[in-house]
Amino acid sequence: MPDLSAPSISYLGLAPVLIVLGAACIGVLVEAFVPRHLRWNAQVSLALLGTVGALAAVILVAGRNELTAARAVAVDGAALFIEGTIAALGALSILMFAERALDPAKSAFVASAALPVGSSADRKLATAPYSQTEVFPLASFAIGGMMLFAASNNLLVMFVALEVLSLPLYLICGMARRRRLLSQESAVKYFLLGSFASAFFLYGLALIYGYSGTVDLGEIREVAARSGASDALFVTGLALLIVGLLFKAGIAPFHAWTPDVYQGAPTAVTALMASCTKVAAFGAILRLLYVGFGTSEWTWRPLIYTIAIVSMVVGAILGITQTDVKRMLAYSSIAHAGFLLVGVIALGDAATAGRGLSSTLFYLLTYGLTTVGGFAVVTLVRDGDGEATHLSKWAGLASRSPLTAAVMTLFLLGLAGLPLTSGFTGKFAVFRAAIDDGAWPLVVVALLASAIAAFFYLRLVVLMYFSAPAEDGPTVGVPGLPTTIVLAVTAAATVILGLAPGAVLDLAEQAAVLVG
């Protein structure tokens, strides 16, 4: 029997993850023991405390570059930057979860998800004042999983984190109070396709273990460097791992679930998935490709190069044909995933290492903030049936609610990458890194895709500003404090990171370290 000794663990380095997961665990206990009338406030504060605490912990820990827990988890600049980003975006999403002023039933989540849709109990429930609070610990678990996902230096830990982040998300996707069937359908789709992706990842993990005899990313790299990396096991394993990650990041051609799930899930959950999950998945992609397979670049580089083009083009072109705001934003996120891969490609050259990484990190932050803001606006525009997401309902919104339309326009221009918004700064940083790296054909494609994507962002602006308001148009809800905070923070970030991004760019530059 081998000698098992407990590895030394840097609890401080792991603090961000531990705080969020701890808050989630306490949330479960709260659910069990705290009286119902106190639960809402307790859960909201707990979840916010967890995410904000994690952000504070990240700031506290910043500057460390080490591997801890027997090399299983990395605490380095990139991991901490991504953890901080996830914590911040997670806190904003939680605020959207906690909005009670918009829906007449006080919450966007169904009180009892198990009741069959359309049954008499369900109808009774629709007007009942119950709200359910389990979504908060579930979201906290997901956020904790995402943070670990991006920091894991070990394929097994990465897989566990993948499951920790996915399972709660599958659940809360199906918990919309309105349009419950659509919501449940999205949950099932996400679960089925997500399970496939997990299986792919697991199979790839097994093959890589078979090839290298280790699940540690650093050791895999050394083995691959020694043996030339042309083994069938190695190539197949790597491909399967990448497929699993691309699925989570919602990158074409593994994007098919994105529009359906984004549309069906409660909008607050969509915001969480579109921002945090994407950030986490890119964190994992960066770590896997550069730490684990950094020496076998030529195995995956052509693949990622092609997929970046496919994702940008698919996202931009299919986005044009959408008639639903949430689906449109879903395709926008697919296109943006392609732009992010441009940054991932640009990490390649040793001479410029850091610039591709820092620009990708910066892009993740700007994209996440703008996207959360966009979805927050979606929650405001409502008719009797809940959120009015069909594009035609948005016609003439500017004359009904100028401020809402103006804020949405800001986010759309940011997503389109117009100068003086954060989206432009991000795109510029990523494209500069890519041209620096010699990937200029990719940048030209990216620029053309940006132009195509601009069309559908603009179409919504045209609808809001230049069209006559629809007769039975939706009303624009007056947001409560939580959504107001979300809108203020994201709108301010979109402007500030466009006008004066220097400080944050510096931060990303300093954080551009991958250990392992």
Binding site: A398, L418, A454, F455, L458, R459
Partner: protein
């Protein structure tokens, strides 16, 4: 007084006022439009003072200011003007108060069944923001900053067309935006490319125009980078075959927007040729010049022919602009100081005369509620002042001697005849066509039997005279005495032409192009 931060103040003043207008209650129409007028007049006074303070024989860039902006990208907020940029800013200063006067009631009837969605407050707010950004485009000496203004100025114009334009305003606004955006994004690739080249050449990436001008770039790479800039500017100018957005945007934009769109915004394209394409990529400029000249001459003839075929007055004026932009491009790429100076002067004159033409057509449309030429006739006998103003603006547009445009057109033709006699002669045909389309439009609308729709026409009101007369006066003054402007323009054009190495190559290029 020369260290007064003119450029910064010129940008901040309209920008802050424009945003401040949003805080004024919507129904206070007089507060809104008077504030806009006063600010635009202050800007005019400042631009005039700046022009007086400018020393033509001094350094190339004056009123220079530079602040660090995004150090990670090597971007600085750098402003400065040479003679070319200065006269363009002066043109903006002149046109904006005129536009404010012409748009005095724009948006006053918002929401009363007009189908237009914009209000007066938003109109003047966007207008002033646009003025600030336009000044920024011409004043930027950092290419990144230039690009930022280049793209950002689309937004106010987009809203001006989309919220206040004619029946097809949605289509026109989106088309305008997308065409310009595509061009801009292609340029962005070249902008980043330039940065990377500079990083390799001088060890540190920079966007400063002066530093980039001095690095030598491999000729093949130059061609690629040149094309990125060229396509953006050719769409913006617009040069045939990138022109199809202009008739739509020009025809659907509100009159005030159309004046600034065709008068100033499009000039960014030709300005870009002179400021960026020629000095930064001299070899590529020379290599592509013959092809571009063909496009320019094509534009002159094609624009003129299409203008003749129009029945819509605003579209007609828009098409005449395409012909005129052909002249400007001819002047720029002939690579002689004479033609270049003519081209810059043409940019100013075209802004004045086409602006006046648009405004008068706007007056006609406001009376007759129709853009179709056939709906008018005999206006001259009902409203003689209106007809007179129309004639003067029209004559300036067809470059009659004694009007401002004649000087510039003559300089362009003279300067391009040396190296490219064939192109120059073909361009002259464009002048004859110009006389045709302008005079035909004048004849059909102003003479002949009085159409029933025209019967109750009022002549020019005091307000209309107030904003038209300065432009008409400038047409005459610059036609007789263009020297002050030429003195400012010539040194800047000389510098540009020596950047591109025109003196050595013009004779040789002339032999190739002329045969």
């Amino acid at each position: 007084m020369s260290d007064f931060p003119y450029l910064l103040v010129l940008m901040l003043l309209p920008l802050v006022t424009g945003l401040g207008l949003l805080a004024v209650p919507e129904h206070r129409h007089d507060v809104i439009r008077r504030a806009a007028l006063v600010v635009s007049l202050v800007v005019l006074v400042l631009t005039v003072l700046m022009t007086v303070a400018f020393e033509p024989s001094g350094p190339r860039f004056q009123f220079v200011q530079s602040y660090p902006w995004i150090p990670d990208f090597g971007v600085r907020f750098s402003l400065g003007v040479d003679g070319i940029a200065l006269v363009m800013i002066l043109l903006i200063g002149v046109l904006v108060p005129v536009v404010v006067g012409a748009s005095w009631n724009e948006g006053a009837d918002a929401g009363r069944g007009t189908g237009k969605s914009g209000s007066m407050r938003t109109f003047f707010s966007w207008l002033l923001v646009l003025e600030a950004l336009l000044i920024g485009v011409f004043a930027a000496t950092d290419i990144f900053l230039f690009y930022v203004f280049f793209e950002a100025m689309l937004v106010p114009m987009y809203f001006l067309i989309g919220s206040f334009g004619g029946p097809r305003r949605q289509y026109a606004a989106v088309k305008f935006f997308l065409y310009s955006l595509v061009g801009g994004l292609i340029m962005l690739a070249s902008v980043i490319g330039l940065y990377v080249v500079s990083a390799n050449e001088i060890g540190q990436g920079t966007f400063a125009f002066d530093a980039l001008r001095q690095i030598s770039i491999d000729p093949d790479l130059q061609k690629l980078l040149f094309l990125g800039f060229f396509i953006a500017f050719a769409i913006k100018a617009p040069l045939v075959p990138f022109h199809t957005w202009l008739p739509d945007a020009g025809a659907e934009a509100p009159i005030g927007g159309a004046v600034l769109l065709v008068g100033v915004l499009d000039k960014v394209g030709t300005f870009g040729f002179l400021r960026y394409c020629l000095p930064l990529f001299p070899d590529a400029s020379r290599a592509f010049a013959p092809a571009i000249l063909v496009l320019a001459v094509l534009g002159i003839l094609y624009g003129a022919l299409l203008a003749m075929g129009q029945t819509d007055m605003k579209r007609l004026v828009a098409y005449t602009s395409i012909a005129h932009f052909g002249f400007i491009a001819l002047g720029v790429f002939a690579f002689t100081t004479q033609a270049g100076t003519g081209a810059v002067l043409y940019m100013v004159n075209h802004g004045i005369s086409t602006g006046a033409l648009f405004l008068i057509v706007g007056v006609l449309i406001s009376r007759g509620k129709s853009r179709t030429i056939g709906d008018y006739g005999g206006v001259g006998s009902v409203a003689p002042l209106l007809a007179g103003a129309f004639l003067l603006a029209g004559l300036s547009s067809l470059a009659l001697p004694g009007t401002n445009s004649f000087v510039s057109e003559f300089l362009v033709l003279l300067g391009s005849f040396g190296p490219y006699p064939v192109f120059s002669i073909l361009a002259t045909v464009g002048i004859i066509l110009a006389a045709l389309y302008i005079l035909l439009m004048y004849q059909r609308t102003m003479h002949g039997p009085i159409k029933p729709a025209v019967r109750g026409f009022k002549d020019l009101s005091k307000r209309e005279m107030a904003y038209l007369s300065p432009l008409l006066a400038v047409i005459i003054v610059l036609g007789v005495y263009p020297k002050p402007l030429l003195d400012i323009i010539t040194p800047a054009v000389n510098a540009t032409m020596s950047d591109v190495g025109a003196d050595q190559s013009s004779a040789q290029a002339g032999n190739e192009g002329g045969d």
